[in-house]
């Protein structure tokens, strides 16, 4: 599969602070590529370098097999982006904003074509309203219409779900799935909403303090074959003593108050539950712990 983004040795320093440190990654054609990291990890700086808003201190960025430093215009013609909040011209209407950015992308669209694009994000009825009258969700949808107005091959979304209500988040998720699965677009998306990323991303890149700490296919990274489980009991210490007399003792990872965390194969879980019942333990809850959030925290919490 050809690569769409190829980054190698990317570094950005602001005076003494290194925001992105020797970062290398590859984004393959098609699919949703999730870009994770804590606040200040360097996600936005990386995205801004991909979009030529920030000049790298070091390293190389190739998009569509072209070097961004020498083929900026050709590359940006094929990219649609939302960078943090979709700030648009508040004193202009939605259709004026869309027309303005279409023109900047080299397009000359008629009102009918612009209305069709607004229709796709559910804003056709408010096409002639000024943006200052829009809700945050409507602005986000218009931002997406602006990003997609020139039918880009690569869509870069930096925190697209920020400030949205649950319905707005669901709409964006649906749109991302539609763009990826139905239209075959490549989407590079950063977000701190891990549960949402888990639902939309096919591959992941996780950075911490400017450095890459994990990269790969979501399924492979989360490894469903090897489940972590968290058991809440009356006394984790007492439970641990009982477990130590069994074969399950080597599955214990940590103990915290009333909670005990263990690692085992997925098919072992039913027999473990049965064994606990035989031990007459008071079990309040069993929680599967190999979510993206758990994986992310295990990588970044130390």
């Amino acid at each position: 599969m050809p690569s769409i983004i190829d980054v190698s040795g990317l570094t950005k320093s602001f005076n003494e602070i290194t925001a992105v440190d020797n970062l290398s990654f590859t984004v393959k054609d098609k699919g949703v590529y999730g870009f994770l990291g804590q606040n200040g990890a360097g996600k936005s700086t990386t995205i801004r370098m991909l979009l030529t808003l920030i000049r790298p201190t070091n390293g190389e960025i190739k998009i569509f097999d072209l070097d961004i430093s020498t083929h900026r215009k050709e590359i940006l013609q094929r990219i649609g982006a939302i960078i943090e909040k979709p700030d648009l011209y508040k004193y202009l209407t939605a259709i004026e904003n869309l027309n303005l950015f279409a023109t900047m992308s080299g397009l000359k669209l008629k009102r009918k074509q612009l209305m069709d694009k607004l229709e796709k994000v559910g804003l056709a009825e408010r096409a002639d309203s000024k943006i200052k009258t829009y809700s945050q969700g409507m602005k986000q949808r218009l931002g997406i219409a602006v990003a997609l107005v020139h039918d880009p091959d690569l869509i870069i979304l930096d925190e697209p779900m920020n400030g949205l209500d649950p319905q707005g988040i669901a709409d964006i998720r649906q749109l991302i799935n539609h763009l990826s699965k139905d239209q075959g677009k490549t989407i590079f998306i950063s977000s701190h909403l891990l549960s949402e990323m888990e639902q939309v991303a096919d591959s992941l890149l996780i950075i911490h303090k400017g450095k890459k700490i994990a990269e790969g296919n979501m399924i492979e990274l989360l490894n469903p074959e090897q489940s972590g489980i968290e058991v809440e009991t009356r006394s984790a210490k007492e439970f641990e003593l009982q477990l130590k007399q069994t074969d399950w003792a080597n599955k214990i990872i940590s103990i915290n108050g009333q909670k005990i965390t263990m690692q085992m194969k997925r098919e072992e879980i039913p027999s473990f539950v049965q064994r606990m019942a035989e031990m007459k333990q008071d079990i309040f809850s069993i929680h599967k712990k190999n979510s993206l959030e758990d994986y992310f925290l295990s990588l970044t919490s130390h």
């Binding site: 801004r48 030529t52 508040k90 202009l92």
Partner: protein, 293 residues
Amino acid sequence: MIQLLKIEIFKIFKRPRTYIAFAVIALIIILIQIALKFGGKEYVGLMMSGMGDSFEEIPSKIILNGYLVCFVILNLLLIHIPILVALVSGDSIAGEANMGTLRLLVSKPVSRIQLLIVKFTASVFYTMILLIWVAVLALFLSILLFGVNWLGVPRELQFNVMESDDVLWRYALAFCFAAIGLICVSSLAFMLSVFSDNSIGPIVITVCVIIVFTILTQMQIPFYDETIKPYLFTTHMLGWKGFFYVKAIDGVTEKGSIENFPAIIKSAAILIGYTAAFLGTAFWYFKRKNILS
């Protein structure tokens, strides 16, 4: 490029704040015209005092005509219009950064240099429209209200007189010169705008620079006359007046003459030099600027 320029001009004239400058200019000019219409005789009396007996017999309604009213307005206004120009030019890049739209613009397939050229050209276009507005109100409305006659321009210890058919071309050139001065101010505000992420800063700094430089320009202190004044762009912005200073032989004005044309050209060249320096700095910096807003 033309499409991008149309967009920028569209954006400027869609903002209500753009029209503040037009309203302020109209208000000031009309107030001056009303004042001169009803109290013009006293004003002319003051202006002519000390000019000698030969002028005292001329009826004030001859001296106070549309051409003189326009000269009075320009004399008062051309120092202050730059402040209004700064409102738009200072907002040009910094305003986009403040709104968060700069990152969208720069991530579009348009080069940064192209973006700056379009932005500055749009600011210049606005400045020219503003100047035309001044010309329409100050010159043509004054001609309509006060009629035309010969123009008398008071100077230190002398009074330059131009016949009525020797005036309009001088105004045309004076407005062209004023355009060069205003573009210079526009480029200063534009340069400061590139350095900032908030439009208040560039606008306030430009206004402060104009006020301080104008005060220094108008100070009658010999020490400053040679050390500072020749280098201030505000000094050279007054060069438009040179078109109304005429040669006189034995007290008789030479029709179609300009007393010191090379000085006007020199002032224009200095203003163009300042503009080039301001724009050069703006382009150099913006090409390297990290867009963090």
